[in-house]
Subunit: 321 residues, 2 copies
């Protein structure tokens, strides 16, 4: 069995080679550029982990892992265009560096290339894998659209937000494990539990991400603390605060969001604390983490083989104890 | 055997139903919108024609035809964003009506949906079909990128232009026939000849399109005559004119393109006529058409079965006799 770190390194080596032809360089240089920026390669690594739960890691699992990482990068390129984001992982985004039209097209060809890796998978698993990949692709697009819709909406409920964030970020994580499991010959029941493990772990991670944006240690977090507050983002924290605040606090929150005063972050954080948003968020994260771990527990595989996945959960989710 | 018109009608009926879920409507209404604008459904119809050359039209051919039309519409949505086109078939383009971000995402989900129809194809043909579809997808992206690159280039050779236009418009037409043939059980040799028939027919059609833009009857053409000249597009005609013009004519052409005077179209057309661009374009079209028809001739199928494809060629390409 390999640890997450070991598999992540294997995948990194794998992404040190070109994935596109040389010409036209105007199209393929931007595509290679985002792949070289790196990232933690979480999704392809957990695809390999899902595979190794049931079998030795095979060539098909590598094809699948590559397709997943290409899909993820396709969605990053296009999301960055939509969000008008200037930077990604501290580097210029593709559209900033190469222009929007080329970024759009580089994203398109990245998605097609993902399907190219899928087409290499042995025919007995191909239809099932292709259908799941398409389902995830559709859901990720839906999640991004809902996220954009929410920016225009006055009120977003917690359920609506969980639904959106599940589609936008968790289903790919969940499916990555399931893809590995399918290719390892797992039964449908195990596939289901692994999918649910990944999905709930992804939601727990997102709760943590929203929490750290507000309450994280600026030195450890690596992003601007309060960035979501400045951008008026509807996060787990803001949605809960708006739901539980007193009439007066709610009025103050809305005023802060409309007027964007210089002390906005401090004042919003104070209301978050008064509403005990921090404790609530930690409990919510813990709830999703426990649900995830229960599904891992229920997966019909020897406990010892699950150790890398338990370690992954611990690596991704910091405990407050 | 069915005629092109009959199959085109069948496909039209098929596209009168929804191809996407109801929600989120903000994503799927724009996707359904472009499908309802219509179009001639040439590509899916010739996929069915390629299939009927070898067998009765089966369910897989319909899945494939649907995937092809969805792919075509995905590329139209994204091309229109890149070209900042306000209208398509006399209607607002998707990004004009719904905004660029939603159009980008509607294109993405349309491409994923195309692969969804492919995933329904029986496993024995699936790998081959998926690989060809990915190849075409990559080539269409390359063609669009080259087209954008050419706008920035001082000189484009005829060979470069033929290469670009082949990727951008002809390979999908060519592959549509091949997909039908594959699903009909055609031998590799027949697949090759049908692909080449479609490819050369597509190039002939493009030569004609460029010709009609300059020399077409405004009432029949349906588009603004001289539109390519006004937009300084590098067409078959302009590239040939620049290659064969005298030094003086070439200087005048470049001046007209730079200065955009009111009588630009008239003056460019006069140089085209002086260089005999019109006769050359008709010969070139005829050359590609004859190559196409020779490949159809060489396809190992009874002549009587090829009649719909011969009629299609005659329908698409107007003869000057």
């Amino acid at each position: 069995m390999h640890s997450f770190q070991e598999l992540s390194e294997k995948i990194n080596t794998h992404f040190n080679t070109r994935h596109f032809p040389e010409t036209p360089a105007t199209l393929y240089e931007p595509a290679e550029y985002i792949l070289q920026i790196g990232g933690k390669r979480i999704r392809p690594a957990i695809c390999l982990m899902g595979n190794e739960l049931f079998d030795e890691i095979g060539a098909d699992a590598y094809h699948m892992a590559t397709a997943i990482e290409l899909f993820h990068n396709f969605s990053l390129i296009h999301d960055d265009i939509m969000d008008k984001a200037p930077l990604r992982r501290g580097m210029e985004t593709v559209h900033t560096k190469y222009g929007e039209s080329t970024a759009l097209l580089a994203g398109d060809v990245m998605l097609v290339r993902a399907y190219d890796y899928i087409s290499k998978i042995k025919p007995d698993h191909l239809p099932k894998v292709l259908q799941l990949f398409n389902k995830v692709g559709r859901e990720v697009c839906e999640g991004q659209q809902l996220d954009m819709d929410f920016e225009q909406k006055e009120t977003v409920s917690l359920d609506e937000y969980v639904h959106m964030i599940t589609l936008k970020t968790s289903v790919l994580l969940a499916a990555s494990l399931q893809f590995g499991a399918i290719l390892g010959g797992a039964a449908g029941d195990s596939q289901h539990h692994l999918y649910e493990f990944g999905k709930n772990l992804g939601i727990a991670f997102q709760v943590q991400d929203d929490y750290l944006d507000a309450f994280g240690d600026p030195e450890k977090f690596g992003k601007q603390v309060g960035g979501d507050i400045i951008a008026n983002k509807k996060t787990f924290l803001m949605i809960y605060a708006l739901e539980t605040a007193s009439a007066e606090q709610r009025k103050e929150l809305k005023r802060l969001m409309q007027e964007n005063p210089a002390d906005k972050v401090t004042k919003v954080l104070q209301i978050f604390k008064d509403c005990k948003v921090d404790a609530w968020a930690n409990e919510l994260k813990e709830k999703y983490l426990q649900t995830a771990l229960q599904h891992l527990e229920d997966t019909a595989v020897q406990s010892v083989r699950k150790k890398p996945l338990t370690e992954l959960a611990a690596y991704l989710i910091q405990r407050e104890k």
